[in-house]
């Protein structure tokens, strides 16, 4: 039968990613892996205490994580493993798993009700709403390596004194940038009340309340109230502008003009996805991402050429484009 075992040649990727996704999703649901992912080390006893889950269950879970290459057991104490630390490639694993969990987890309510979306997209989109916290978590995981580092590097490269982040969530990206730029101020704008509450508490815990303002508002409000943009040397919008297309195209154009007019010396960084990414290694995910947006979310992604024209029409004369790790992802750097 040895000639039959050859089919395993390609198995490591799909199976490995799936196995890791299953385990990390279980851990995230139970809150028994969060501190490990943040701090890169945990004690079984501490996790059991903080969650109220039996230590034997936590132990079995971490033993499974270790077998899956997601944790490294510490030395045995009285024949038991009491601590685990992160392996060097944990970030990459989380990043990979983020895609699977976004696609098959966060988007599950859309896919499960595909029949309704085929019949009536607006009605289905109102009925089957994704879990915002799940989307936020899986997006954060995908971004670990595939868009946050690139955005952070682009934001900090010119050492701006003032950064405005549109759709700032819990201000994770903004805080990382400000730590690298001790003299900079930041403004985070997000329409989610719960995200802003959480952001303010994180900002305070970081002792950054004198440097960061959190504004709870839709980004559209900046057209009438552009004051937060004044003096901005970097305006960053990560995966927020595509939510204005196609229904609010005029609003998007007005917003871009507002950025250009209110912060004339600033650069605008647009991080977003183009449809059906043309590079072979981005084909499959970008196809699914584009199709979900068009046929399940009522969104139209814009190709590079359209973004360049739109930014040019808003008064930005220089626009550079670079790819991101996420398939179809692009970072547009627009300057006056």
């Amino acid at each position: 039968m040895n000639n039959l075992t050859h089919s395993g040649a390609q198995k490591s990727s799909a199976q490995t990613i799936t196995g890791r996704a299953i385990l990390l999703e279980i851990g995230a649901k139970l809150g028994i892996v969060d501190s490990f992912l943040t701090n890169k080390e945990i004690s079984i006893a501490d996790v059991a205490k903080s969650t109220g889950i039996q230590a034997s269950w936590i132990s079995a879970y971490y033993a499974a994580l270790a077998h899956a290459g997601l944790a490294v057991p510490g030395p045995k104490v009285s024949n038991e493993i009491t601590h685990y630390v992160a392996p060097p490639d944990l970030q990459q694993s989380i990043n990979d798993v983020g895609y699977v969990l976004w696609g098959l987890g966060s988007c599950a309510p859309l896919i499960a009700n595909a029949h309704h979306f085929v019949k009536n997209l607006p009605s289905a989109a109102e009925t089957y709403v994704r879990d915002g916290e799940h989307v936020a978590r899986t997006s954060r995981w995908m971004g670990e390596q595939d868009f946050y580092p690139q955005a952070e590097a682009a934001i900090t490269a010119s050492r701006p004194k003032k950064i405005v982040d549109l759709g700032s969530g819990t201000c994770g990206l903004l805080l990382r940038c400000l730590r690298k730029l001790p003299e900079a101020q930041g403004v985070g704008i997000d329409l989610s009340h719960s995200a802003c509450v959480k952001a303010r508490s994180i900002v305070q815990a970081a002792g950054m309340e004198n440097r960061v303002s959190v504004i709870e508002a839709p980004i559209q409000s900046l057209i009438d109230n552009p004051a937060p943009l004044e003096g901005a040397e970097i305006i960053h919008g990560g995966f927020v502008f595509h939510d204005l297309m196609p229904d609010e195209e005029a609003t998007l154009n007005a917003l871009l003009k507002t950025f250009r007019r209110t912060a004339p010396n600033g650069a605008l960084l647009v991080v977003d996805a183009v449809p059906y990414g043309p590079n072979p290694d981005e084909h499959a995910f970008s196809a699914a991402f584009t199709f979900l947006h068009s046929h399940f979310m009522g969104r139209r992604l814009q190709p590079e050429s359209e973004w360049k024209e739109r930014l040019s029409a808003a008064g930005y004369t220089r626009v550079d484009v670079a790819p991101l790790g996420i398939s179809g992802g692009r970072i547009f750097t627009a300057r006056a």
Copy 2:
């Protein structure tokens, strides 16, 4: 920024698999991809007609499949693509996607309710039941290359005159074997009423009703009624025996002895998973598979050594083991 794009190096696997999984799951939910996966070609008009879904929707879906490397467009007719054929690696893609959809789709009700499983496994297992048809489909997809071909080769290698398949589902494996063995008879046993009804209709459509008997019964019933096993030259059980462990261990032992006694000249093929597969490339998926079985399904997988002892105790003196494509999967060939 060119130095920042390097993080895409490993992206193709996780992103590609996720993209393909999203699209194939949408197609399966809508019934617009089934005939394509079976026949390896489709016409947009035919799919639209048979499903009642707008041809423009089907067209957009197949264009996305094509971009994702899952379909190849035929020539344009009046500037439109009307037909698609399968790419050479479609089987491999389906096989890969099967894992993701089994883990994050079929098992979603377990993972989503992890808190309940932690508190009370038996109660949770009764409350949150997986969709049997979804499990059957994703298992079939995983098996496309990773266990059915190996099982088929092992079953047909000795050119048996009578094959008994335990947990035969819709008799797909049995029919494939019988087509290669024109003089053989087959018996399929499954406890699912709907699977047996479907199996009988498939057997009839294949004109094989004189060669295949479908018995709707739990495999445990063979201990008291071993008649279907008489004269069997191959008895095959694929991923069925682990459902007897640990609660029905005595039943499993009695079953094995029944096989040995009733079909003394036959070989028993046990296709099943061992816990925490020791080979590095099976670590991650096997860890998740094992943990789900132990902590969410109340099942205990048996290591190779335990299987060998158990088969030996039942009277099988020669037991060979070979790996399968699925992580932790093994095929035990037991002979008198």
